[in-house]
Amino acid sequence: MSTIVESSPQRVHPADQESFRDVLDRVIQYCKRNPSLVVGLVLFTLLLLSSVVGSLFVDLEAARPISVRPLQPPSWELPFGSDKQGRNLFAVMVVGTPLTLRIGLIAGFLGVTIGGILAFVSAYYGGWVDALIRGIVDVGLTIPGLMVLIVVAMMVESGLSVEQMALVVASLAWLYPARTIRAQVLTIRERSYIQIARLSGMPGRMIIFKEILPNLLPYVAASLVTSISAAVLASIGLEVLGLGPMDDPTIGMTLFWVNYNAAVINGWWWWWLPPIVVIGLLFISLFLTSVGLDEVANPRIRRSS
């Protein structure tokens, strides 16, 4: 049986040949109808690009303390000025943005992957497995996440690295995807085409991969984006409280130093403005992307509005 299955039987029909153009056409058409997805993704890419491009123009070592003269307002040499410890704030932004994103991406991916797998197992197989997973998720979601994260972060006395930070955030990030994806799998599982697949002799795990998963991809992508932004938010929250990686100039740590040195009251606006703008842009781009993906996953939202 496997030989036939794996040789991906594709006979060339007239419809197949034009399908690539078709798909491209449809993608373009679709983008016109779904501007939030496009704007969100473009904004996100720009944010990443600007830190890549920025790294060509600035010495990244200058993101460390005592690299430049402290507390300089923006100038030609120091476009974003410098902070009290003598960091070049432009370099801090160029280094910090990807770092913060890295935490978000690692935690988001881990959360959705773990949550997604648990959701599929739980929804498809049901029974006691489902009861157990659902129970853990339900209980887990009632506990305030930031509190748990604070406790975990405080237990690591030597302070967290960026990766450890991501793992700490991921430890709770799977709960919400697990619940929402499970609900989606449950509704898809009841569709007649699942029954038809079963009546065609398709085994359970193949049904998950071939029948359920493809239809969930836009949804999983949407919840991935949601998880990433939740993870970014959680990590910044921890860092502002001083529980982040002290040695790394992430966006959250910058805000911690802003707070620590009372930069707002002292009128050192160049210190706090860039991180706020970067966070704002980041969340707007993630929000728009997830709204756009939601439309892909659930066209009914579009029709009704």
Partner: protein, 345 residues
């Protein structure tokens, strides 16, 4: 000879659990045999709440009966070995009501046709696979080049449903259970689906259980008919007899309520009786509270099936002079492809 599929005194009760005091008897003491050797189309007709959907689910093994059993080649559906359940999959296939929901929107229609071939090992090569598919499509009157490579939404309801008939055909089943296959299809395309069902019975000797609420299409393609009312058989027998000369008061009411597409043949002037809400004992005939012919006896006892004609039985005390037919023997009034001449008795 063991029958292909046999329902033996099947009863299904919903509810009645610890916290649920409302018990619903969806199907009561129902027996039916599909022998698989003499092909026929058996129409199961009933309104909502008649138990026809429950019957379909029980025959497919999706739901287990509360009492009684369903046997596939003499073996209980609930205890099939792995090999037997694969055999069941290829022998008993199904066509669902909604011709859209059965297609995974992610794939082209080809997907539903290739899947059974791949997973049931029906073809040795790619070429053979496509040959099988094209044959099946042509049998149901579809041109492969106009059907394959398309997405479900590019086909009409009638075409989608015929692709499903083709899918079932590929598995070479001995029986197809068609659950309201045309109720969501436009009138002008219905005929094509019904025609393809009729054709596969005649050409491939596949028995069909046609479940529907629509007496007209049941009459059109059925050989035999079972009229269900609230989980029990009201009348069963040859379809011409039952539809043209209904004997059970409920069948009469049903037949009389069909909106006939003929403005000269209007509904009888008198409206069917409003529900008089006559409550009998729990043993009463289930139709007694709506029956214009109800007698005292109908409120006290459940009528058994009486064999009113050689090819018909009705569960009604109006016919108590006729011999009683036990529920297990209901099939005795069925005959495959009976010549029309033998109807008059």
């Amino acid at each position: 000879m063991t029958a292909l599929l046999e329902a033996r005194s099947v009863t299904k009760v919903f509810g009645g659990g610890l916290f649920d005091r409302t018990k619903t008897v969806a199907l009561e003491d129902f027996s039916m045999t599909i022998d698989g050797d003499s092909p026929s189309i058996t129409a199961v007709v009933g309104e909502s709440g008649s138990g026809k959907t429950t019957l379909a689910r029980i025959l497919l093994g999706v739901t287990s009966p509360t009492e009684g059993s369903v046997l596939y080649k003499g073996k209980d559906l609930r205890k099939l070995s792995k090999a037997d359940s694969r055999g069941f999959l290829s022998d008993v296939q199904v066509i669902f009501q909604d011709p859209f929901e059965v297609y995974n929107p992610f794939y082209k229609v080809d997907h539903v046709l290739t899947t059974p071939i791949e997973y049931m090992n029906l073809a040795k090569s790619n070429a053979e696979k496509w040959q099988l598919i094209e044959q099946a499509l042509e049998t149901v009157g579809l041109r492969p080049e106009e059907t394959l490579g398309r997405y479900p939404h590019q086909l009409s309801g009638g075409q989608r449903q015929r692709v499903m008939v083709a899918r079932a055909l590929i598995l070479k089943p001995r029986m197809i259970l068609a659950d309201e296959p045309v109720s969501m299809i436009d009138a002008s395309l219905r005929a094509t689906v019904l025609g393809s069902l009729q054709r596969i019975k005649e050409e491939f000797g596949i028995s069909i259980v046609y479940i529907t609420h629509d007496l007209t299409t049941a009459y059109q393609i059925g050989d035999n008919i079972i009229v269900l009312y609230r989980g029990s058989v009201a009348e069963a027998g040859n379809v011409d007899l039952v539809v043209q000369k209904p004997s059970h008061p409920y069948t009469r009411l049903l037949v009389g309520s069909i909106p006939v597409p003929n403005p000269d043949h209007l509904w009888a002037a008198e409206a069917p009786p409003a529900l008089p809400n006559r409550k009998g004992s729990h043993k009463s005939c289930k139709f007694a509270d709506r029956c214009p012919a109800a007698m005292e006896k109908c409120l006290q006892q459940t009528p058994p099936l009486y064999q009113t004609d050689p090819y018909r039985a009705a569960a009604c005390f109006l016919y108590e002079d006729a011999p009683i037919l036990t529920n297990e023997k209901m099939d005795n009034v069925f005959q495959a492809n009976m010549p029309v001449a033998s109807i008059s008795h």
